[in-house]
């Protein structure tokens, strides 16, 4: 597929600043907060970064479900550290979005009101401990494939936030792999727990790359602007190619009967995820959509008095300081 920059309307002369923006993109340089940028570029980025931030925040919930029941103290510590990292990623990303002129409160309100999206994967439930392994191995693995190319996204603050996030995500994926490895080296019941969990998470993880290329309306422009670097299907293929040898090491079966090596294409042939399910979850009708939103609203509402107290105290402190200085 050939992708070119969006064309100007007929008769529209390109301004000097727009030319400069286009040049920066063409040169693979970075756009910084004070640079001129097209309004649509700004909006696309705000949408994408906020969505990513919200995903980190909602994504804390399926794993926090197992913090209190983690089966060893070491696993408990690692899981807490991981969920904490996710809160940290949410914070970096909100900060990156703030450089584009949107406030954190505004983004939070959109999440609470249900008008902003977050990754559908977090609407799946985590009924077993093995799900902590599957989330790390499959979900964080898919996230890394999506996110590593974003480290060189054209918008500077986003790219730099992603570099930091990717470093931590690789640790997350590794700990997921280790959880599954321990289970697969364990009792027959533990092995069954691991396989059952991978059966549930495999397809939803593949859906994380988004709809097939011929059904992804925003992709082409994001690729032209170098916000996005690889197509959905391309990333999905790479991810599966990476999973196959790891599944062999684990002794786990990937639940796709059509998964076979194609010698001619030098790539795996694979089945398709259930895209109807994808659209259902996206539309808010997944296993846990309502609960995830409710938890976030509750935390926000029940914490309001604490935030108000902190703000009132800070205001009083700064007033006192001013009086002292005066």
């Amino acid at each position: 597929m050939t992708i070119s920059l969006p064309t100007r309307p007929i008769g529209g002369d390109i301004s000097a600043e727009e030319q400069q923006f286009n040049d920066l993109i063409a040169q693979d340089s970075r756009i910084e907060p004070r640079d001129w940028m097209p309004e649509a570029y700004r909006k696309t980025l705000i949408r994408q970064i906020a969505q990513h931030a919200h995903s980190e925040i909602i994504g804390m919930q399926p794993e926090s479900n197992w913090i209190l029941r983690a089966p060893s103290l070491k696993r408990k510590a690692i899981l807490i550290a991981k969920v904490q990292d996710e809160a940290g990623h949410g914070l970096y990303l909100y900060s990156a979005a703030q450089t584009l002129g949107v406030g954190r409160d505004e983004m939070t309100e959109q999440l609470i009101a249900g008008t902003a999206r977050y990754s559908s994967i977090f609407n799946y439930a985590t009924p077993t401990w093995a799900d902590m392994g599957s989330i790390g191995w499959l979900v964080d693995g898919a996230a890394i494939c999506n996110q590593v190319p974003l480290c060189r996204a054209s918008y500077g603050p986003y790219g730099r936030a992603m570099v930091r996030i990717c470093k931590e995500e690789s640790f997350h994926q590794r700990q997921g792999f280790e959880i599954l490895l321990e289970l697969m080296n364990g009792t027959p019941e533990q092995r069954q727990m691991a396989q059952e969990s991978v059966n549930r998470w495999y397809w939803p993880a593949l859906m994380m790359f988004g709809p097939p290329d011929d059904d992804s309306p925003n992709s082409a422009r994001s690729m032209a602007w170098k916000i996005k670097r690889f197509s959905n299907d391309e990333l999905r293929r790479r991810f599966v190619g990476m999973l196959v040898p790891q599944a062999e090491v684990l002794g786990l079966t990937l639940p796709d009967p059509d998964l076979t090596w194609n010698e001619e294409k030098q790539a795996y042939d694979m089945g398709q995820p259930d895209w109807d399910e994808f659209h259902e979850v996206l539309a808010g009708r997944g296993q846990m959509n309502a609960q995830r939103m409710q938890r976030r609203r509750d935390a926000h509402d029940e914490g309001a008095w604490v935030r108000e107290a902190a703000a009132a105290y800070a205001a009083r402190q700064s007033a006192t300081t001013e009086r002292v200085v005066a």
């Binding site: 209190l68 070491k74 550290a81 990717c166 590794r174 790479r238 790891q246 914490g303 105290y313």
Partner: protein, 290 residues
């Protein structure tokens, strides 16, 4: 089914190596940095010292378990992170103390945490108090932190080298816990009328459990020079509390004193459900590795 006992591949490394080939994407890959930093492994504790290590390990573990609930539920993201940090520190302290405690009977830290019943736990009841609202959590954490800080400060001089080493490492972290709780005591006390009222209720509810922390037990006589006599920590605790309460314009609550008994296995009714949840999976698969 094939299983492997070899080193797992660096899963994240593979992905990144596949997808990064230009300057912006040149990320360094994180290594598994959260290695078990358990102090005192390989040293066998004498039985009385093991019993004392249980007190301190159980205090830390029970509080960590309580705090774990807040993660994803805190009033703001910064607090999800801060409370998570405190829980993580406390689990680290608990692992060191429990691992040392278990050495006397050939048990691992996880056998100590997951396979002892409620009556075998030795936590003081203050640590077992439910989270309540954020003000209750802060009030409990403030007391817990001030107590542990005073305790670890002195335990660094213990004749038992392992206890001294755990205390020396832990006190730096507890210093942060006290600071975190202190800042929130000041904010809630000096914030809004509502936050002040809630904080006062929070302190009133947990204050009955303060007294137990400073009671000496027969074990203290046996472990002179090794364990810290709790009663001797009260002045340092009172001084610190008085300073913060003065700034926050709070009064020390008056009311009843709980009977306590945590150090001999008598617990607040919150401990049973807390342990049931914590231990459920481990007990479903006894002997399994995770």
């Amino acid at each position: 089914m094939s299983t492997t006992t070899g080193t797992p591949p660096a899963a994240g490394d593979t992905t990144a190596a596949t997808l990064t080939s230009d300057e912006h994407g040149n990320i360094e890959l994180g290594k598994l940095t959260l290695a078990a930093e358990v102090i005192g492994q390989g040293t066998v504790a004498p039985p009385a010292v093991a019993e004392y290590a249980l007190w301190l390990g159980d205090d830390a573990l029970v509080l960590a378990q309580n705090l774990g609930w807040w993660i994803s539920r805190a009033p703001e993201l910064e607090e999800d992170i801060a409370i998570g940090n405190i829980a993580l520190d406390l689990i680290g302290h608990a692992r060191s103390f429990l691992s040392y405690a278990g050495s006397a009977s050939g048990r691992t830290e996880d056998e100590m945490a997951y396979f002892r019943g409620e009556e075998e736990y030795r936590s003081a009841q203050l640590f077992e108090q439910a989270n309540g609202d954020f003000a209750h959590t802060i009030a409990r954490n403030f007391i817990a932190g001030c107590f542990q800080h005073a305790l670890y400060e002195r335990l660094q001089g213990s004749h038992d080298e392992t206890l001294a080493a755990i205390a020396a490492k832990s006190i730096k972290e507890v210093d942060y816990h006290v600071d975190h709780a202190t800042q929130w005591v000041l904010r809630l006390a000096g914030g809004t009328a509502k936050s002040r009222r809630r904080l006062i209720v929070g302190f009133a509810d947990v204050w009955p459990y303060v007294d137990e922390l400073f009671r000496d037990e027969p074990l203290n006589d046996e472990l002179a020079g090794v364990a810290v006599r709790q009663s001797t920590l009260r002045p340092a605790f009172d001084t610190r509390v008085a300073a913060v309460f003065a700034e926050a314009e709070l009064e020390v609550p008056v009311g009843f004193t709980a009977t306590g008994g945590g150090r001999v296995g008598k617990h607040h009714e919150t401990l049973g459900p807390l342990l049931a949840e914590m231990q459920v999976l481990a007990r479903q698969f006894p002997g399994a590795a995770w």
